[in-house]
């Protein structure tokens, strides 16, 4: 080995380092698709299971392409996004103010602590029969279930953020003549913006998981319905393509939340 070969190797390495994150992501994804392909092979070679062979990557991805070009993906995704969006909005509209109150008022925190911890532990899906009875429409019931699932992470993250607010900031604002509205808009909300968004990010993860089983309810649209429908019509490639769509959109929404958190984060030291 010569000295010049060593040098050129050293020059290439930093350039590679820049793409290391991307390369590792590609490796991870390739590994996942490979395992999926292995599973597909095993299913196809098994005489008891070969009917499910279209779960494999090949049939799934070609069917996914057909679904994307025909617009079917958007048709089944939009109703789901609408339900999750509305459920999340309701959860935030209730959860953020409640979280702020609970974070600020010790007595309220003590009163609500046990009831809220109790309610939080109930699987949102166990509200399903009650939701179906309480709401006139399936849509209403699904949105309710998503809101019930999403409210707790938002509420608890907001309350925890409010409790961490530096008391000196409150004192400074009061000293300069801040009224309660000023206190909320110039101190509390900016101070806990990242906490609220972190709560929303967690809530979105839960809501997206709850969405699919919730859409097994009477509705005739959405991703959960599409999965059930594909099973009933034995179109397993469509079923697995829908699973891919659910994963991709969930991942995209989470990435959006992360970007928003990074943007709103005022704390230099945590970067």
């Amino acid at each position: 080995m010569t000295a010049s070969a060593d040098l050129s190797g050293a020059r290439v390495l930093p350039a590679l380092g820049r793409y290391r994150g991307l390369m590792n992501a590609v490796i991870g994804m390739s590994l996942l698709v490979f395992l999926w392909w292995l599973g597909g092979r095993a299913v196809a070679n098994n005489p008891d299971m070969f009917a499910f062979a279209s779960f494999a990557p090949g049939p799934t991805l070609s069917r996914l392409w057909v679904m994307i070009t025909s617009g079917e993906v958007w048709d089944m995704t939009l109703p789901s996004l609408y339900r999750v969006g509305l459920g999340m909005l309701i959860a935030a509209v209730i959860g953020v103010p409640m979280g702020i109150l609970i974070g600020r008022v010790a007595q309220l925190r003590e009163i609500t602590n046990i009831p809220f911890q109790f309610l939080r532990m109930i699987s949102p899906l166990s509200w399903m029969p009650i939701a179906v009875m309480a709401f006139d429409t399936w849509d209403g019931a699904i949105i309710f279930l998503i809101a019930v699932a999403a409210i707790w992470p938002i509420l608890f993250a907001t309350a925890a953020g409010v409790r961490r607010i530096d008391a000196a900031w409150i004192k400074v604002a009061r000293n300069l003549g801040a009224n309660p509205w000023h206190m909320l808009t110039t101190v509390i909300l900016p101070a806990v913006a990242t906490d609220i968004l972190t709560g929303i990010r967690l809530a979105l993860g839960v809501a997206w998981v709850v969405l699919v089983p919730a859409e097994y309810l009477g509705v005739t649209s959405g991703l959960g319905y599409a999965i059930n429908d594909a099973r009933d019509t034995l179109e397993y490639d469509r079923l697995s393509a829908t699973v891919v769509v659910i994963g991709v959109i969930g991942f995209a929404l989470d990435t959006l939340c992360q970007k928003a958190i990074g943007r709103l984060n005022w704390n230099r030291t945590s970067e």
Binding site: A168, V172, L176, H182, P190, A193, R268
Partner: protein, 267 residues
């Protein structure tokens, strides 16, 4: 005591403050969780435009008294009037500056300095006013910077600008330089006195450091630990040029005040 301000000085945009005396009458305070009063029977009149140092050990109630003057604590008994107006709570006319700058890290330097104006709903001329006070504390070029990029001394200067922006008549300082290094502290002490004199501000300064009082104040009021009463009150007659540690008259004045201070503790 500076009762008369040259009219040219008062015409400056930043020199709107001043002309408010502080009258403390029969103020007493007892905290709910502490046995016995922290303050009892405090009577004190502070002339407009003067700088008064409240000196005492921790537990002497000096900080409590300052919070009462600022309207941040309601006294158990007695009353405070500033420029004839009874203190019922915080006001842009009397502003406190704390030990820590506690700037809002989600706001720029200028936004932090303009907080008091924003709370007062003052939009007209607010930007000019903020520019003026930042200029006054030598931070004009930092207006758009993130406060987290500033040094401790610069942050405390922003806090000073924030306190001055609403044109208060009275500036209350609660050991605001004790967290700074020695050199930064000395320059702040000199600068703040100069700014207060230039604006005609009445200033009350809480400290346990006698040399800080001699550097900054026209008058020293001593509070006695445990009793919560005024145990000493003396004018500091020093020319502004003599207000530095190298001047012999400064040393003499420091020695005189130190003697009063130690005498109080042993008595």
């Amino acid at each position: 005591m500076q009762h008369d301000h040259p009219s040219a000085e008062r015409a400056q945009p930043v020199a709107k403050s001043g002309d408010a005396d502080v009258r403390i009458a029969g103020v007493a305070h007892t905290y709910a969780v502490v046995d016995g009063p922290v303050l009892s029977g405090i009577d004190l009149t502070i002339a407009p435009g003067s700088v008064v140092a409240l000196i005492g050990r921790s537990g002497s109630g000096k900080s409590t008294l300052l919070h009462i003057i600022a309207g941040l604590i309601r006294p158990t008994d007695g009353a405070v009037r500033i420029g004839g107006q009874a203190v019922q709570g915080p006001s842009p006319r009397w502003v406190m500056m704390f030990q820590a700058p506690s700037l809002f890290p989600w706001m720029s330097v200028a936004q932090n300095a303009g907080l008091g104006l924003r709370y007062a709903g003052q939009k007209d001329g607010a930007a000019e006013r903020v520019a003026d006070v930042l200029d006054l504390v030598d931070l004009a070029s930092f207006a758009d910077r993130n406060v987290q990029d500033l040094s401790g001394g610069q942050q405390q200067r922003v806090a000073l600008a924030r306190s001055l922006a609403p044109s208060p008549d009275v500036l209350l300082l609660d050991e605001p330089f004790s967290a700074l290094d020695m050199f930064t502290r000395q320059s702040m002490q000199t600068d703040v006195r100069a700014i207060a004199k230039r604006l005609g501000l009445t200033m009350i300064l809480v400290t346990h450091d006698v040399s800080e009082a001699v550097l900054m104040a026209d008058r020293a009021v001593f509070l006695k630990s445990g009793a919560g009463v005024i145990a000493g009150d003396t004018d500091i007659n020093l020319d502004d040029r003599a207000r530095n540690a190298d001047d012999p008259t400064f040393d003499a004045e420091l020695a005189r005040l130190n003697e009063i201070y130690t005498g109080l503790q042993t008595a």
